[in-house]
Amino acid sequence: MITKAQSFRSIGWMALLAVCIALVMVLAFRVNALRSQVKRTEDKIIALRLEQSYLQLEFQTRASQQQLRDWNTLEFGYAAPTAGQYLENERQLAQFARPDAPGAPVPIRVASLDDTVAANAAFPALVSPLTGKPAAAEAPAGEVGEGEAAPRDHGAAKAALGARLARVSALPGADDAAEPAARPAKDKPARALAAAAKPKVLADAKSAGMKPARMATETRSYK
């Protein structure tokens, strides 16, 4: 015999089942809806891709080699560039530079402490063909002659410049200006620095007419 509580329970189960079925159906419907939405989107993508390839094809057809040639003969008249229009490097570009004509305006020169431009434009350091090491490190300090174009280590030169400028004001005497080359050679730690910077010093000294005071500051700074 079915009691009242039992019948309630069975009705509860039935209700629960019904709710579950309803939920599953809702879920199934939503999944299907989403699926067909994905399908629609895919179809749209396919249609757009086909449209895109169609337009690409049209573009390629309108810009075909023969069409371009016809336009060029009729409208533009472009010709292949000649050898003179190509430049391979900065050296070829520099060949176009001409010496100033008489009466040309004097180029404006601006004094600057910034050495980065020169340092950035530095040519790669020469490498010894025998050892494969940079030539600056190879050559003994004494051998670098006055007339030789010694390779410039721009990093070192910049450091030297900084050191020099920092010491200019602090320098008292100009006594030891007579032997500019001898002093740095004795100085062990400054040896490499001197090797790099010395030719510049000498060249500077020559062009400046051997001004003792300037020479003094320059040699002093190597200590």
């Binding site: 399908k39 895919e42 993508i45 396919i46 891709r49 086909l50 390839s53 169609y54 690409q56 094809l57 390629q60 057809t61 075909s64 080699q65 023969q66 371009l68 040639r69 292949a80 560039p81 000649t82 050898a83 003179g84 190509y86 391979e88």
Partner: protein
Amino acid sequence: MNGMTASAALASGRVRLANVRQISLVTAKMRVLWVLGGFVFMTFVAIIRIGQLGISEVAPERTSMAQALLPSRGEIADRNGLALARAFASYSLWYNPKALGAEGSPLVKTPEEIARALLEIFPDANFADLVKRLKAKNGSYLHRRVLPEEANRVFALGEPALEFPREEQRFYPQGSLAAHVLGYVDQEGKGKVGMESVLEQRLLDPARRGAPTPLAIDARVQGALEDELMHGMLETSAKAAAGLILDVDTGEVIALASLPAFNPNRSDLAFNELVSNRVSTRVFELGSTFKPITIAAAIDAGVITDLAVRYPTAPFKIGGFTIHDSHDFGAFLNVPEALIHSSNVVTAQVADKLGAGALRRTMMQLGMNERPTIELPARGFPLWPRGVNAAGDWSQITTMTVSYGHGIAVTPLHLAAAYAALVNGGIWRPATLYKLDPAHVPAGRRVFKASTSARMRQLLRMIVAGGTGRRANAAGFRVGGKTGSAEKSGGGGYRKTSLIATFAAAFPMDKPRYVVIAMLDEPQATQTTSGQRTAAYNVAPIVKRVVPRIGPMLGVVPDSTRDVDISDISPLVRSGEGE
């Protein structure tokens, strides 16, 4: 009694009533049962059918996006990825007589009216043919490849019987560019003639047709070559023109042109004599362009050790045949001069010194005795000179004529491969139309020593710098090459006015990258060629115009400060000219 009778009658009536009620109740129940049974049966059948469908029936085909976008036939691209041949869903105009049902006329207007209207949209259509098709009982194509705007105009005619099915077709966006390389696809969808036929399997393979197949061709270079060849062909009123650009280090064919070409987009018109290309299918006696090969073979074999040695140039008779030059260049010429002036007499003497065996061996190593190595299906077999004995050795006269390119007929492709070997350091490689990555470049076979190749670069450069090839000297590109003007054979001998003018060139000579072959078939003497028919005047200028156009595209920058060093052989040459 009466009462009893009455009561009995009443009772019997009641019983009957009850009986009727009983019967009708049973009938109703039976009917409900029948209906229920019917429903149960239907449900059962439906469930069984659903089950059957679920088990046996295949699901409706859901094509993935990749599948839907897969072309029906793979794309062919050039070496830079530019499409040369593509599958293309275009509209067709189809007449469907059943569109308005089986009864009555399928057309709203008369066939003549519609044909007239269609003729306005497609001016190249045939009126009578259209009317015939529109009156026919069966459906047919009225027009293939209808543009969307044309389709809209036809749609505006308001005829339901005119339908526009979208069909996959083959389309060549570059028109007739590289038509001989690509070939075409016929109405049944089969590839014909060129790479369409060679790549048939690959282009239809679902696994591979999604990605384009790159060829070695560069569309820009091909365009420039075809343009300049056409220009030269019209200028000289030549019958035809052909040209080829080959990478000397890999054997890749960068451009291959044969003019006049056909239009692969009109496959219905494509099958005609224009379909055969002159670069790989037809063989020609290529004349003086063979001289550098002979000289290279002689240098390689140590027959020519001193380039200053002079040879007499007087015509001489051999086997009833006189070998002579086109002009008189003086009594004696050395080898560089012989090349510069293109002397048959001196080349024949060098070949005689070299011997038949050595020359024949070199020609065979250069592949001159077999069909050219290229993927194209149609490849011409050379006219290889017959030998005097079982081993196939050549007679003295054959050796001499072959040395200057007569008595042997090869395709321009053979010549290009030979010139590549001549300048690239001596390695012969098969030509290919596939784009190669550097790892898969064939090793090739050595035909000449590297030193011989270096010497030939100098000699070829000299021919262009100051010899018969001067008109090919494109400034800054260091072109080197050799002219060749051979009379066509016919009518039992050679015809004086029908020439094959060829120029075989390579550039840049200080480090050769590309071989350029240009050829004109029967050029006429015109004002632009200074009244001359020879290669120096008609083909050499084509090369001069082509090289500056293609050089920068191929990474060869003109530079007038560079050149191959010819200072060691230039003192051997006196100034002069010849062909």
